[in-house]
Amino acid sequence: MLEIKNLHVRIEEDGTEILRGLNLSVKAGEVAAIMGPNGSGKSTLSYVLSGKEDYEVTEGSITYNGIDLLEMDVSERAAAGVFLAFQYPVEIPGVPTMTFLKEAMNAQRKERGEDELTTPDFIKRVRAAAADLKIDFNMLKRPVNVGFSGGEKKRAEILQMALLEPKLCILDETDSGLDIDALKIVSDGVNHLRDPNRAVIVITHYQRLLDHIVPDAVHVLSKGQIVKSGDKDLALELEEKGYADIIAAAA
C-alpha cells in the first residue's frame, strides 16, 4: 500500500535535513510501528506523508496504492484515504465540532463521487462512533478540540478516524498524554479499525502502546533512516536495552 524509497526531506525554512534516505514498505492489512529516539524524524515522516508544506522533499519517492503521493496536496491525500492522528491536535475556536465533522465527511464523499450525508444519517454515525470511544456527545457541540483535555483530544482524533474510514492511518504519538484507561479506549478504537484493506502506522516512543495495538512489524528510525526492522519482539528488545544499544548494533 505504501512504498517509501530513499526519502530525503529537509525543513524548508532553514534547510536542516531530517530524513536521510528513508526506506519503508507497509502492506495493506498491516500495522507497522515506527519507534525511535527524540529527533530521529518520526513526526517529520508523519507530516511529510500528510503533505504539510513546511517540508521539502529533495530526493526519493512515496508511492501510495500505485500513485505518487508527493504530487497531491494535503486535502487530496486526505480524500484519498491518508489520515494523520495528530500528536498535538489544534483547538479551533468558533468552528463547531459537528460542522467540522460533517464538512470533512462530505468533502471526502464528494471526492469519491458519493452523495452528501443526510443530517440524520450523519448524526447517527457520529453518535455510534462517539459511544464506542466513550466520548460524551455533548462535548461535540463545542468548537473543535476547544476545552478538551489531552485525553479527550486524542479520543476525538480516533473518532475522526473512525468516521472518515481512511485506508492509511498514521498515529503520531497517540499514546502521549494518555492515562492507562484512555490508552485502552484509544487502542481498542484503533484495533476496531484493523482491516485487511487498511494499513496503520503507529509512531511511538514507548513499547507500552504496542501491548494494546500489537504490530505486525516494528521499524527503528534513527537520524532519518530506518536502521532496523523486525517483528513485535523488536519493540520488547528496545524497551529492555534502550535505543542506544540497538542503534549502535545496527550501525
Binding site: 486526505a78 494523520l84 464538512e103 471526492e111
Partner: protein, 430 residues
C-alpha cells in the same frame, strides 16, 4: 479676513455642482431650497474633503468620488414594484420601499399597530433642519435629498414585526439616490428595524442617506444596518442616534458591498444608564473601499458603550475603521469599550484602524484594542488534513471569525439572514 485661495474643483465636485444646477425639480418648500443651495455652495467653496481633513484621513473623498452623478427622478411605480419583487427579503418584515431615493407608500407593507410611517419630512423642512457643513456626507445629502420617511413607535408599544427600510436602485446608471429618514422609538417602546441597501452590480450609482434614530426613555431599539450595495456603487451615509435615560440601542452593521462606502455612525448618549451595543462585520473584497467612522459622545454619568467590529479584507479591498469615544466632563462612570479585529487575506489588501479617545471625566473606563492577522496556518492544515479543500477550509475559518459577533444577536432569524449574506460574499471573495 482670509484671502480666498482659488482652488481647482475635481470632476467629481464639478459634477455635483452641475447636476444640482440642472435639477430644478428637486422637491421641498422654499426653506428647503435655501438649505440645498447653501449645501451646494459649501461644496463649491470648500470642495470635498481630502486626506488633510482628519476625519477623512484614510478616505480621500475628493480623489475617490467619481464624476457623472445626477439626482434620480422618481421611477414609475411599475418599475419600483418590480424592483421590490426582485428584492429577495432578508427577513420577513414590514417593507418600507425606497427606490432610487423615493418612497413608495403604495407598495409598502401594512403598518404595525402603534407605529406610524409618514413621508412628511420634505414638507416640514429637512428634519433637524440645518446640515453640518463640516460633514461632507451630510452636506451632499442636504443638497440632493429627494424623499424621506419618519417611523414612530408610540410610547410603551412593543412591536413584534420587524420593519425594513428597503433601499434599492433600478434603471439607468449614474443616479443619486438620496433619502433622509428617521426612526423614533418613544419612551418605553421596543422595536426591531432592518435598514438594507441593495443595488445591481452593473450599475454605478450614488447612494446618500442620513438616518436619525431617537431612542426614548427606557426604550429599546435593535437596528440592523445591512449594506449590500452593488459592486460599482458609491455610498455616503450617516446614521445618527440619540439615547435617552435607560435607553438601549443594539446596532449591528454589515458591510458586504459597494465600491466606495463611507458609513458614519454618530451617537449621542444623552440619558443616564443608557446602553449602546454596537457590533459589526465589514467585508472588503475586489476593489472595495469601505470606511466605517464611528463617534460616540457620552454626555451624562453612568452610561455604557460596547463596540466590536470584525473585518475581513481580500483581493485589493481597503478597509477603514475610525472609532472615536468622547466623554464629557460630567459623564463620570462611563464604561466604554471598543475592539476592532481584522483578517488580512491577500497581499494587496489593507486596513487602517484608528482609535480616538477624548476624555474629560476622571472616573471612567475606556478601553480600545485592535488586532490584525492572517488565518492561522495550523488551523488550515488541520482542516485540510481531514480532506476539506483549501478554499472551503479558509471559508470555515473566516466564518468562525465573523460569526462570533453575528451570533451575539439573539434573534435567530436575523442571525441566519446575516449569515446568508456573509456566505454569499465569501463564495465570491474567499
Amino acid at each position: 479676513m482670509n484671502a480666498h485661495t482659488p482652488r481647482l474643483l475635481t470632476e467629481g465636485e464639478t459634477g455635483l455642482i452641475e447636476a444640482f444646477k440642472a435639477a430644478e425639480w428637486l422637491p421641498g418648500r422654499e426653506d428647503v431650497g435655501d438649505i440645498r443651495a447653501a449645501a451646494i455652495n459649501a461644496i463649491a467653496a470648500h470642495g470635498l474633503p481630502t486626506r488633510r481633513v482628519e476625519a477623512f484621513h484614510y478616505t480621500d473623498l475628493r480623489a475617490l468620488l467619481p464624476a457623472g452623478f445626477k439626482p434620480s427622478k422618481r421611477p414609475a411605480i411599475a418599475e419600483a414594484s418590480a424592483a421590490m419583487t426582485d428584492y429577495e427579503r432578508l427577513v420577513s418584515a414590514v417593507r418600507i420601499p425606497l427606490v432610487n431615493g423615493h418612497y413608495f407608500a403604495d407598495i409598502a407593507g401594512d403598518c404595525p399597530q402603534g407605529v406610524s410611517i409618514v413621508p412628511t419630512f420634505l414638507n416640514s423642512g429637512l428634519g433637524a433642519g440645518a446640515f453640518d457643513a463640516a460633514d461632507a456626507v451630510d452636506t451632499v445629502n442636504s443638497a440632493f435629498v429627494t424623499d424621506g420617511v419618519a417611523v414612530t413607535v408610540s410610547k410603551d408599544v412593543a412591536v413584534d414585526a420587524i420593519m425594513t427600510f428597503a433601499h434599492s436602485y433600478v434603471g439607468e446608471a449614474g443616479g443619486i439616490a438620496a433619502t433622509r429618514n428617521s426612526v423614533t422609538v418613544e419612551d418605553g417602546a421596543t422595536a426591531t428595524m432592518v435598514d438594507r441597501s441593495c443595488g445591481n452590480d452593473a450599475l454605478a450609482y450614488l447612494r446618500s442617506t442620513v438616518t436619525e434614530l431617537t431612542v426614548g426613555e427606557g426604550a429599546e431599539l435593535t437596528y440592523i444596518l445591512s449594506i449590500e450595495e452593488g459592486d460599482a456603487a458609491q455610498r455616503l451615509a450617516n446614521l445618527k442616534a440619540t439615547l435617552a435615560k435607560d435607553a438601549v440601542l443594539n446596532l449591528f452593521v454589515l458591510n458586504a458591498g459597494g465600491k466606495l462606502v463611507r458609513q458614519e455612525l454618530d451617537f449621542s448618549v444623552d440619558g443616564e444608564n443608557a446602553a449602546l451595543n454596537i457590533s459589526g462585520v465589514n467585508l472588503m473584497g475586489g476593489e472595495a473601499h469601505i470606511d466605517v467612522t464611528s463617534r460616540i459622545y457620552h454626555r451624562v454619568p453612568n452610561t455604557t458603550a460596547e463596540e466590536t467590529f470584525r473585518n475581513v479584507c481580500t483581493g485589493r479591498g481597503r478597509g477603514v475603521f475610525q472609532g472615536q469615544i468622547r466623554v464629557a466632563q460630567p459623564a463620570q462612570l462611563t464604561d466604554a469599550r471598543m475592539a476592532c479585529n481584522t483578517l488580512l487575506l491577500s497581499d494587496d489588501c489593507d486596513f487602517s484602524a484608528k482609535p480616538e479617545l477624548e476624555i474629560f471625566a476622571d472616573d471612567v473606563q475606556c478601553a480600545h484594542g485592535a488586532t490584525v492577522a492572517d488565518l492561522e496556518p495550523s488551523y488550515l492544515f488541520y482542516l485540510r488534513a481531514r480532506g476539506i479543500s483549501e478554499d472551503a477550509a479558509r471559508r470555515i475559518l473566516v466564518k468562525a471569525f465573523v460569526n462570533e459577533v453575528v451570533e451575539e444577536l439573539e434573534n435567530e432569524t436575523l442571525v441566519e439572514a446575516l449569515e446568508g449574506v456573509i456566505d454569499t460574499w465569501m463564495v465570491r471573495h474567499v
